[in-house]
């Protein structure tokens, strides 16, 4: 499981990527301490909410293991948006292990639970593959999840790792989406290919890939218009955009990421499912984890659809996009 940017971004052999500043590399003095900071911030923000606090599982809960323990456990996971089905699976698995005597004391039960949750989250290929040139990364999702912001932050990260980046403003629907991405391009100091609102997204993307090839750019990040997965016409349009890319590249995009808002409830599973029917989704970006929402829906997506989380968004700053760490995420789900 990659926990640093250099692990996360799979580049050509021989390419020397630098760990971006503000993020610790393998050999920096206090790697754990700093990364923990993200989740400490999460916990602190959680503490500001009484609701979340009451749902938190104190370790004392595991001292006596009875029906109430399992019920409280289910409650905590459901409150974290893990969903009734995934919750029932995990809890009954844990219950069985306890009954069979595999896990005995309270602290071990707690640790085992975090392990089970982390296992669920650890599926498929968890790196972002940018070995192709240009490596095309398509970013999709419903409205308002943070696609454009994610692309801006990702561009900045990749740039500071020493990769050249080009942005394609494929959201030609939302008013001013192109301007928003342009601002990000300036911040990340990278090129952008844009068209006016209302123009064909496919054409913009085609141009972007062409330009990237001509200038030997490493990574093309493609923004798309937010669309509700229930809009078949818009989903068809997305599939078409994907075909345009595939035709131009002679293969699918190197990476297709779906951006999911961590406040999303059980509907997130439908979103991921239907989007992955239109385009082959390789990973999830879980955004807005700096609120009180714990993003448990990502577990349901990983568990039921086999799509791993690759990145998390934890704030507004350009550095607040991080590689996903399953263990920390699982611990945070339990308010740990």
């Amino acid at each position: 499981m990659p926990t640093t940017w250099t692990d996360l971004i799979e580049a050509e052999p021989g390419a020397e990527l630098q760990e971006p500043p503000g993020e610790e590399g393998e050999d920096s003095g206090e790697p754990q301490a700093k990364r923990r900071g993200v989740f400490r911030r999460l916990r602190e923000s959680l503490a500001t909410s009484r609701e979340a606090l009451s749902a938190e599982l104190s370790s004392s809960l595991f001292e006596t293991l009875d029906a109430e323990t399992w019920e409280r456990l289910e409650e905590a996971l459901i409150m974290a948006d893990v969903g009734a089905r995934t919750t029932a699976e995990v809890v009954s698995k844990l219950e069985l292990e306890v009954e069979s005597g595999k896990v005995t004391d309270g602290e071990a039960v707690r640790e085992r639970l975090i392990e089970l949750l982390a296992e669920l989250a650890r599926v498929g290929d968890t790196t972002i593959d940018v070995r192709k040139r240009p490596a095309v990364v398509l970013v999709v999702g419903v409205n308002g999840t943070g696609k454009t912001t994610t692309i801006g932050k990702l561009a900045s990260r990749l740039r500071s790792m020493g990769l050249s980046v080009l942005l394609a403003a494929g959201d030609t629907y939302r008013a001013a989406a192109v301007e928003q991405l342009t601002t990000w391009a300036e911040r990340a100091e990278c090129e952008i290919v844009r068209a006016e609102t209302g123009q064909d997204a496919g054409a913009v993307i085609f141009d972007a890939i062409e330009r990237a090839e001509a200038r030997a750019i490493d990574v093309v990040l493609i923004d798309t218009a937010g669309r509700l997965h229930t809009r078949t016409d818009l989903m068809d349009e997305l599939a078409k955009v994907n075909r345009v890319i595939a035709k131009r590249l002679g293969g699918p995009p190197a990476e297709t990421l779906i951006v999911v808002d961590s406040t999303t409830g059980q509907n997130g599973l439908r979103q991921a499912k239907i989007f992955s029917e239109a385009v082959e989704v390789d990973g999830v970006v879980l955004t807005k984890l700096d609120g009180t929402a714990k993003g448990g829906i990502a577990l349901a997506i990983a568990g039921e659809l086999g799509i791993p989380v690759k990145l998390i968004g934890v704030g507004e700053g350009i550095d607040d996009l991080r590689p996903f760490d399953a263990d920390e995420f699982a611990a945070a789900l339990l308010g740990d």
Binding site: R50, G146, T232, D261, T263, G291, T292
Partner: protein, 451 residues
Amino acid sequence: MFDQLSERLQGTMSDLRSRGKLSEDDVDKAMREIRLALLEADVNFKVTKQFVAAVREKAIGEGVLESLKPGEMVVKVVSEQLAELMGGSGRDLAFASKPPTVILMAGLQGSGKTTATAKLGRHLKEEGKSVGVAACDTQRPAAVDQLDRLGRQAGVEVFQQGTERDPVDIAEWALGRARSQELDVLIIDTAGRLHVDNDLMDELVAIKKRTKPHNILLAVDAMTGQDAVNVAEQFAEATEFDGVVMTKLDGDARGGAALSVKAVTGKPILYASTGEKLDALERFHPDRMAQRILGMGDVLSLIEKAEKELDLSDAEDMERKMRRDEFTLDDFLKQLKQVRKMGPLTSVLGMMPGMGKAMKELKGANVDDRELDRLEAIILSMTPEERRNPDVIRGSRRRRIAMGSGTNVQAVKQLTKQFDQMRKVMKQMASGKMPNPEALLRGQMGAGRRR
């Protein structure tokens, strides 16, 4: 909208209805189903608990079980509780005795504030008010541009000063402008903020102090999960908002957030935003929504929509034609266009009683509005003669129509066949026999689907 929730509840409800007698055990079983259905719909865990307890108490007490039709009574209790949970009967915006009425929009990032601001502006303008919107989201890049464009599309005044100035100052300045232009309403868009972000929450409070809004509306994404309640509580604490605009209700979110927010904060849902276009904003009617969830249909909304969109004299004309069996494909086309004016097919059908099951089949068959586009194309490729008398359409005409409409011969055949059936059904209706709505629907939809 609320589809999966209503499907589940409808199953349980029809089971209850079908019974002559109910025991406490029967009610408990039904309550367990309801509990799971609500949880799967993202209704807050605690709200679910309370809801189920309240329904159970009412269902078991008050002599419901001894009544003549206990099942019906329980269904009624559930329906009433649902409506109660979502806010009783509808509530209006508060309007100032001395204009402008100020409306402050708040919410998380990506909840749809800016779009909702423009939509509400348009909505109030349609009601005959003069409206201005103030762009105070200086955080998100290009948010000001977005409101500027949407506001102009909506035909309202846009007050913006770029992103350099302090949002609090911009809000105050905009209020001054609204006053001097004697506008009826000023809607203030603000930056999306996390409820745990103290600086931004303070900014919101400052805007509130400076502009003294008559209404503070919180935009809540219908797809929100269990966290909706935390968000609403925190915003309530900071701003004492007055009501909620539920956004993105046109997806297939089960809308549990909608159910929970009122229960926890006591703040009603005033508007529902149901589409990407600027006119896709509706007053939220909790009682009607509860009935829609339970599959009792939302006939009132449908009638209101129809009254707004349909031409009454046209409708009378149609009816006469149907009765006399003079209904042609031209008339069908006209009707099709009118129905489509009322919105996407699925949302119109969702309002009709007894359509819950049919809707499910429609979803499975993936019927969307493009099927109707094809029907229209086929009819438009016919000559006036053919539209009056589809019986003349044979081999070569069929081929020509198929080519002209970009479809195929089978599709044309289907359409004429279905139209023939439709006319038969209309004759039946005219003679007073009511056809089964689901059968009618299946018949019609088949025309476009099996190409």
